[in-house]
Amino acid sequence: MTDRCPTDTTRRQVLKGASAMAGMALAPGFVLVTAPEATAKTAGEAATDKTRWGLLIDTNKLDKAACDALVAACNTEHGLKPASRADATAQWVRRVDIKDKLTGAEKSLPVMCQHCENPPCADVCPTGASFRRADGIVLVDKHICIGCRYCMLACPYKARSFGYEPVTDQKPQSPHGVGTVSACTLCVHRVDVGGIPACVEACAKVAPGAMLFGDLKDPGSAISKKVSEITVTRIRADLGVEPSVLYAGL
């Protein structure tokens, strides 16, 4: 099972407890049921293309407050603080308000790095600092980013921020120092140890079921089942970059 939906916590805890008890009852060291945390990688273990992490965002279940809550969670998780100028502030996820010009219908939704299968940012990056991990997470290698900012021009989603001024008290898992580009990491530090992104976790508290995180390649995962049942939208699908962030209700 490779879904990491916070709304399943109770069921998962029950299963986990049951498996532990069954294991203890049968034989020491023998496990019958694999716990969700089994998808956690060990230190040094490479990501593989057997997994493709994705997000499904149901905009019908989100309002401005919910979006703001998940944006705040991201900022806290990654230590992103306002810069001395608004357009220099790093925003890895932002709330976008849209209004249909014809019908007047309004929605609010979070927009972050869409973790494209064919990421234009990685295409244009001269050093390969912007890259797509085998499991679909698009990252910036902070060691070889030279700060040319070409990826920011190429990203169709305006998902990248540049370090315009020195920052202090950075979170060790989320370096975003001056002179290099940063963006949503899909909370890779959490995902790699079996967790879920901070925005998904925060969203579950204020808008249950609005965000689903999981493996799009696992036909048994909740996200795969859900996206096979409903119509999903990719932002700028016409570009063919194949985002891993899918939207419902748009």
């Binding site: 925003q91 849209i98 249909d100 990685a122 295409d123 244009v124 001269p126 390969g128 021009l153 001024e165």
Partner: protein
């Protein structure tokens, strides 16, 4: 046509050292601005997350495009065999080399982490058009240096043509790649166009020739070397043609966008209601950069005036910088279209025209890049024989004597007829 001689400039006069000092000061200002930006971060520039490229890129890409255009004068002589251009080949190659160095200096100094420059030489993403550019830039230095060598070493003159052809092909590829830096960006309304590559090539012809003509006239005047009307007339007429050609591509670009509904928003932004960008397009790029120079070089009342031709060249340069500003910053100022048909807003400037106010630091860096180019050129002409001692008509114009002879014959015939 007499044999063309070349010589170094003496370079001991007060004027030479004043020029050198002035350029060194401007270059130092640029380097100082870059050092301060490196220390304080790009927050001291006007660039932001919405407009991450600004004035440094405008100057840098203008210089890079002009560099490839400056080499054209040499190519016309070497590749296409136009005799009058051959004495200009050395200066053409040198100017191309120096302009590229100045442009690249700006790009490198504007990096968020210029200290990691070596990484761009050790880590290549071959799919990146930036990497194509980096390789073509480095190759350009090598090819132009080789071209200058075989042109200036009499033992190697036989290689001049093949190396010249290589340099010509190389510069076409280089400028195409520079255009593709924008043409390959699929998400931007104003950039995603195949016309960018050929347009940049034709614009480079005009920008490079304008700077070449300015440098030629200035260096001839300041070193008291004769510069005949034949060469100037030829070059200024060519400048007019190149400017007209560039304007044609600009028309093609916008006319195509005006036809496609998808691009109406961006076209309207640049041509009608983009404020400073619209003004810079019509007044800077079209009027100052194209229409007025064409009038100056072709209108009989000004066409023979060196001052008017010099002014036309300066205006082409101003128009070129305006064009780069409209293309680069204008292309970024217009919002990305994430949700077609929707009104969009966010705290990250979605759906709005992005603002940009360049700071003095980035302007100094841009000017510093130009100064680095000219400083290199000023020093180079002191130590190597780049400048012809004379480009007077009887030296430079292959038709000079013949024309005189024809005139004489015509006069004689007229006298007989009378």
């Amino acid at each position: 046509m007499a044999k063309v001689e070349f010589s170094e400039v003496e370079g001991r006069s007060g004027e030479y050292y004043t020029l050198l000092g002035g350029l060194a000061f401007l270059a130092a200002c640029g380097l100082g601005a870059a050092a301060y930006t490196d220390h304080a971060g790009h927050i001291i520039t006007g660039m932001g997350n919405a407009i991450p490229w600004g004035i440094p890129h405008v100057f840098a890409i203008f210089l890079i495009v002009a560099a490839s255009g400056a080499l054209n004068v040499a190519s016309i002589g070497t590749v296409f065999g136009k005799v009058m251009y051959k004495p200009l080949a050395r200066l053409s190659g040198l100017l191309a080399f120096c302009l590229l160095a100045g442009g690249l200096s700006i790009l490198v100094l504007d990096l968020g982490r210029p200290d990691r420059l070596v990484i761009s030489m050790t880590h290549f993403n071959l799919k990146s058009i930036f990497v194509w550019n980096i390789n073509f830039y480095m190759g350009f230095f090598a090819v132009v240096a080789a071209y200058l060598w075989v042109t200036m070493d009499w033992r190697l003159t036989g290689l001049s043509k093949p190396v010249g052809i290589l340099a010509f092909m190389w510069r076409l590829a280089l400028t195409s790649c520079t255009g593709w830096v924008f043409g390959f960006i699929v998400a931007r309304q104003g950039w995603d166009a195949a016309v960018m590559a050929p347009m940049f090539i034709v614009l480079s012809f005009a920008y490079g020739l304008a700077i070449f003509l300015l440098v030629l006239m200035a260096s001839s005047a300041w070193t008291r070397r004769p510069l005949g009307d034949a060469v100037v007339k030829k070059l200024k007429n060519l400048l007019g043609v190149f400017v007209a050609g560039g304007l044609y591509f600009v028309v093609v670009q916008h006319l195509t966008n005006m036809y496609a509904t998808e691009h109406h928003g961006f076209t309207r932004f640049i041509l009608l209601d983009g404020g400073a960008f619209t003004a810079m397009f019509w007044i800077g790029q079209v009027l100052i950069g194209a229409v007025v120079p064409m009038v100056l070089v072709w209108y009989p009342g000004t066409a023979n005036s060196r001052q008017a031709i010099g002014l036309a060249c300066v205006l082409v340069v101003i128009g070129g910088i305006s064009q780069m500003f409209v293309t680069i910053v204008g292309g970024l100022a217009y919002p990305l279209v994430l949700f077609p048909g929707m009104e969009v807003s966010s705290s990250f400037f979605d759906g709005v025209i992005n603002g940009y106010s360049p700071s003095i630091w980035e302007i100094l860096l841009g000017i510093g890049g130009i100064a680095i180019s000219m400083l290199m050129l000023t020093i180079a002409i002191k130590f190597l024989k780049f400048l012809p001692t004379s480009l007077a008509d009887e030296v430079a114009d292959p038709h000079h004597r013949k024309a005189s002879a024809v005139d004489t014959e015509e006069v004689a015939e007229a006298a007989e007829a009378a």
